[in-house]
Symmetry: C2
Amino acid sequence: MPAAGSAFDQLHQHLHQTRLLGSISSALYYDQNTVMPAAGASWRGEQLALLARQVHERQSSEAYAELVAAASAELIPDSPPERRRNLQLLQLELERQRCLDPDLVAALAQAQTRGNAVWQDARARNDFRAFAPVLQELLHLRRQQAKQLAAAETVARSPWEILAQPFEPDVSKARLEELFAPLKTELPALLEQVAATDTPRTAAADLPEALQEQLCVDLLDSWGYDSERCQRSQSAHPFSCTVGPQDFRITTRVVPGQPLSAFLATAHEWGHSLYEQGLPRTDDHFFPWPLGEATSMGVHESQSLFWECRVARSRAFAERWHPRFCASLGSDPWGGSHSFWRALNPLRPGLIRVEADELSYCLHIVLRFELELALLEQEMPVEELPGQWNQQMQDLLGIVPATDSEGCLQDIHWAEGLFGYFPSYALGHLMSAQISATFEQTHGSIANLIASGEEEKLQAWLDSYVWPLGRSVNGEELVERVCGQPLSAQPFLTYLETKVEQLLTST
Amino acid sequence: MPAAGSAFDQLHQHLHQTRLLGSISSALYYDQNTVMPAAGASWRGEQLALLARQVHERQSSEAYAELVAAASAELIPDSPPERRRNLQLLQLELERQRCLDPDLVAALAQAQTRGNAVWQDARARNDFRAFAPVLQELLHLRRQQAKQLAAAETVARSPWEILAQPFEPDVSKARLEELFAPLKTELPALLEQVAATDTPRTAAADLPEALQEQLCVDLLDSWGYDSERCQRSQSAHPFSCTVGPQDFRITTRVVPGQPLSAFLATAHEWGHSLYEQGLPRTDDHFFPWPLGEATSMGVHESQSLFWECRVARSRAFAERWHPRFCASLGSDPWGGSHSFWRALNPLRPGLIRVEADELSYCLHIVLRFELELALLEQEMPVEELPGQWNQQMQDLLGIVPATDSEGCLQDIHWAEGLFGYFPSYALGHLMSAQISATFEQTHGSIANLIASGEEEKLQAWLDSYVWPLGRSVNGEELVERVCGQPLSAQPFLTYLETKVEQLLTST
């Protein structure tokens, strides 16, 4: 423990209290999305705004900046490297805060609120022209923000890169283009291969809501869900959130007509939660310091995708769970475990990103990444977005949306001015595949572990090598540390090729 | 609306923000008692302590005191009386805060925490001697507190009276003794009358948990529960709380072996919530001002008891709901609606206050009131408490607990140094009966309205005459305003006599 009264110690107390306030917001967010009555929304908005103001003040005050400076001045050559890294990350955050003109921050907050409202309406009415001006405004403000933030950067970065830093530290366009290039060529080919094969369509089995709920409970139980530290509720959109160092929540919901949706969403959100549960908590280097936090959205997504795609959508998992599904239901509407596995993996290009399968998902991301660059850095007029979107859909996925609501208006991200976020979703797929390949090189087949119900070995390994890294490394460094190789698209493509081949086999 | 920038306007903003923070605590409390995993408790404690500190600072700071003073100085002869009353109530609160030595406040907080912990353990082990020293300490600190608070009082009040003010404004010992005297003579006689009559014991019907839940939903639906503004969840102990001006929560739980408990608890908590829902919210005189708050614990309890006892435990209600209970269950384990009514009203003296029936409940309160006075003001040694408790139980209820756990250790109140709270529970019974009698004088029999399922008329009347009063009057003044008569025990006793007579009739 640091000496009482040292700047480091005071800073620890300061961060602890900031984290308390932030986690109160998380608890309110959870309440809002699980049980809060609709009429409570406006007051809840005021509560959250008040907390956000307090957190912002604590993170940008002069007193806080002095505390960080004083704690940094206390560093000596023998100081633990964790302390040095924590202080560096805090300083970087502070410098970013300081570069920003408060007027711009306020204008952005207003534009985001307006953007969200206009987008909701424009999407409902399929009216891109109504949305275009507010998107234009958001792009303008974000470009200004990037310009101001450039002063805090230690290396030269483009506007898009600067805006992407909070989601994926140290990410660069060139690196993403390099990683995405093989996806652009190989994934459409795989999709064509599937389309050319006349696989039997599986009739959608209908699973009663109570049964879906029970299967979600069974899944979590089999994966070590601890009700002393975790809570699962229902919400309109599934999410995972951390309310305290020992308080983890996830939500799912039963979707009519999509009988496997709740089950797979549970696997996905539990993956997010396991990562949070495995972040380092003890010791004064970690909680509530940066090193105790998730390092990037890509890494976060890699953990949710690992449990959803690598485990719950795997053949071995389908074979193990098929009898249980049938026993609960009293029949086998799929006609065998192979068809059940196919039902868990519908491979068909669709218009909507959040409903996309493993083959087409990354193509949705490539499309968005390229259009973001065009809008933000290449002076593409906003008016051209729908046409460009549809053209890219045709080129990459071979389908074209009939409406903008199902096209460039489908996601909330741009409506709130979130540029630079989408690539993390694709990076999650690549990271999950590469980490999985590394595991298999030393510990043998994941499928075998799943077949014998030993997923706790996967969990123990991630808990030893991945989760405790926190923000000591960025996403790419994490992959290198864990895998001994730089991040690459190859493990993901190899995994998909094998999976597609097996899926297309009749039994 | 007040002029922008006036002290009144600034004070409004200040109170609004204080209320926001307070209601965040309510939301966290609700979460804690409904879904929070056990391991989240310690962090939740820190979150709540942080909010409590913020609220306390806002309510006791010099800046706030100056704001109240400045807003009071803005009063002119033509100022609305509501504004004057609001400022008076705020000033009184402030003066109470200021009289208190911060060291005493801290010592009390510590003693309360220790008291709770020691009591939990002492009750579990039936060890009053372990609890005695901490009770002694709490009495000592509360006496000191009362001495300090005396400086804020405008009339002479005894220590017990001063401590009771936050729960029941303007309450006096003499008045309580006057109100309770008829209860002490009449209730034991009524209990004897019941005991002497050999009424058939109703076999406890077992109601499945899902059915109990459904009946609670049906009950709330029939009473105008609006899911846009309300939420019902389950918790270990039923409670009601207000999370925002349009966000009302209640909880209940199914108790094994007590098939009607959840149903009656739902009626009770909904009564609390209806009062909160009916408090004045609009206009700058009310929310978030004192006038927008509940005026006393007695009045609050009168509203919950009205819906629980006057409505849900009534004969007309039993007759209307008996067919529904039987239809849901597919049988009639009670053997007719009269026996069902008896099952809703078990009249039998018991050891535990929270399980007591309408006849014996107030006697539990009289006992506690007299023992509190003896401990706090009449120098009764703490060691004599168990003996005195058991003697009073014998005198008032004719039964004696075999252990202190079921005797003087049963309630949490004294373990947290809460003296002056208990009488409000009894006042609630008296107020509910008197308000009911007034309603019947002008609008006819409540039983008839219940028989025809017109409880919304009761609700509309309370919503016109009782709930909007807020803190414009204290509890006794509220009764006088609504009933045109001072509060008295007579309507309650008359009501009970009639009910007992009807219950003892065979059909």
